[in-house]
């Protein structure tokens, strides 16, 4: 008879090896294309696909954030790094900020993204975007269910009839799906947050993860 403890040890070892393998393959794929160059197609595509821009549309740099409203690292970046970037780069006209949805973490991620576009119809995209991150809780624990999304819209003073109609009819599902595809195919994102900084010459620099402000300074300043 096979010793149960030996089976336990073998099982644990297999899990450990699997974890290491998944970790290695996931992260190695990230390092394959940390820097990309293009001909400015990314900036063009962002504008064409209707993603709202925070800051001057003529700013020399565009910071594209690929994120999920249920991602807690995105929230951390939103709270710790984003305010400094807004203050020193967006408000000074050096850069603008675009958010590209990659809702993959849970069932409430996609409706949350759609809700931001419904708010955008009434000119409150960034207010809704910020409110979602401020009130973010655990993945799919109900903080971004239909009634909470409505409550956020109500608090922001949106026309509820228009907002509800927009949500029910999935007006912006195609936009969110297009963003998801753009995030994966164009920006090669496989985690959130992922950032792509696009310069006027079309040079792009990818930053993976909720990096501190110092990383952004080191990347943005030489590109200006």
């Amino acid at each position: 008879m096979v010793d149960a403890k030996k089976i336990g040890v073998a099982g644990a070892a297999i899990v450990l090896v699997t974890l290491v393998a998944v970790f290695a393959t996931s992260y190695m794929s990230d390092f394959e294309t940390p820097r990309t160059s293009n001909t400015g197609e990314e900036t063009q595509a962002i504008q064409l696909k209707g993603a709202p821009v925070l800051g001057s549309k003529t700013a020399p740099l565009t910071i594209v954030e690929v994120g999920d409203y249920q991602c807690h690292m995105c929230k951390l970046w939103f709270k710790e790094t984003r305010p400094l970037i807004i203050e020193n780069y967006v408000e000074t006209g050096k850069a603008n900020l675009v958010f590209i949805d990659m809702p993959f973490l849970g069932r409430d991620s996609t409706p949350a993204s759609e809700a931001t576009y419904c708010a955008n119809d009434q000119g409150k995209y960034w207010e809704y975007h910020s409110t979602l991150f401020e009130y973010q809780q655990e993945i799919d624990d109900g903080w971004a269910n239909a009634s909470r999304l409505q409550a956020i819209a109500l608090n922001l003073g949106l026309d509820m009839e228009q907002f509800d109609k927009c949500m029910i009819t999935d007006d912006h599902r195609a936009q969110v799906n297009a963003n998801m595809q753009m995030a994966k195919k164009q920006f090669g994102a496989n985690s959130t947050p992922t950032f792509v900084i696009v310069s006027p010459t079309g040079e792009a620099q990818k930053i993976i993860g909720a990096h501190p402000y110092s990383t952004f300074v080191s990347v943005l300043d030489p590109m200006l």
């Binding site: 403890k5 030996k6 336990g8 040890v9 644990a12 070892a13 899990v15 450990l16 974890l19 290491v20 998944v22 970790f23 393959t25 996931s26 992260y27 794929s29 990230d30 390092f31 940390p34 820097r35 999920d68 991602c71 807690h72 690292m73 995105c74 951390l76 710790e80 993959f104 973490l105 849970g106 069932r107 655990e138 993945i139 799919d140 624990d141 496989n190 985690s191 959130t192 947050p193 620099q205 990818k206 930053i207 993976i208 993860g209 909720a210 990096h211 501190p212 110092s214 990383t215 080191s218 990347v219």
Partner: protein, 158 residues
């Protein structure tokens, strides 16, 4: 307990094993948990609200290193693998917690397993702290039992 630890780590090989296992766990865990970034620059970053999570990673790596190295000593001494399983299980549980988060591991898991992957990933993210505390508890227990057992067996051998 001090005497047992003194005996084990008086041998430099076990200090090397201890340090090796510590860094083998610590470095991947702080990369997964986004405390250490290697691209585009090598950056270490810790925010006030992630201090607890970082401390638990340090403790988990440290206790895992102690538990595994002590058990390697034990195996060499009495050729018995009884407790190393528990220390590996404790390590795996602790390492799994928070490893998914919103990183590429979660993306791979969710892309591969769909809704089940999403549920598992969100569970590991939501209960990161309690899971890590549990695994640290398991490792402390393993260290305690191993120390007791070593001092008893050493006495018998003497």
């Amino acid at each position: 307990m001090n005497n047992t630890l003194g005996i084990i780590y008086s041998n430099p090989s076990y200090i090397l094993i201890l340090i090796g296992i510590f860094f083998l766990l610590f470095i991947p865990l702080i990369i997964i948990s986004e405390f250490l970034f290697v691209e585009p620059f090598l950056v270490f970053s810790i925010y006030p609200e992630t201090t607890l999570s970082f401390s638990l990673i340090v403790l988990l790596s440290l206790f895992s290193a102690f538990a595994v190295s002590m058990n390697i000593y034990r195996i060499k001494l009495i050729k018995e693998t009884k407790k190393i399983g528990s220390s590996i299980i404790g390590t795996v549980i602790g390492a799994s917690a928070g490893a998914c988060s919103c990183g590429p591991i979660a993306f791979s898991v969710i892309a591969t397993f769909g809704t089940a992957g999403s549920i598992a990933s969100s569970f590991l993210t939501a209960y990161e702290i309690p899971i890590r505390l549990t695994s640290i508890g398991i490792l402390i227990l393993v260290i305690f039992v191993t120390t007791k057992s070593l001092s008893r067996e050493c006495k018998v051998k003497l």
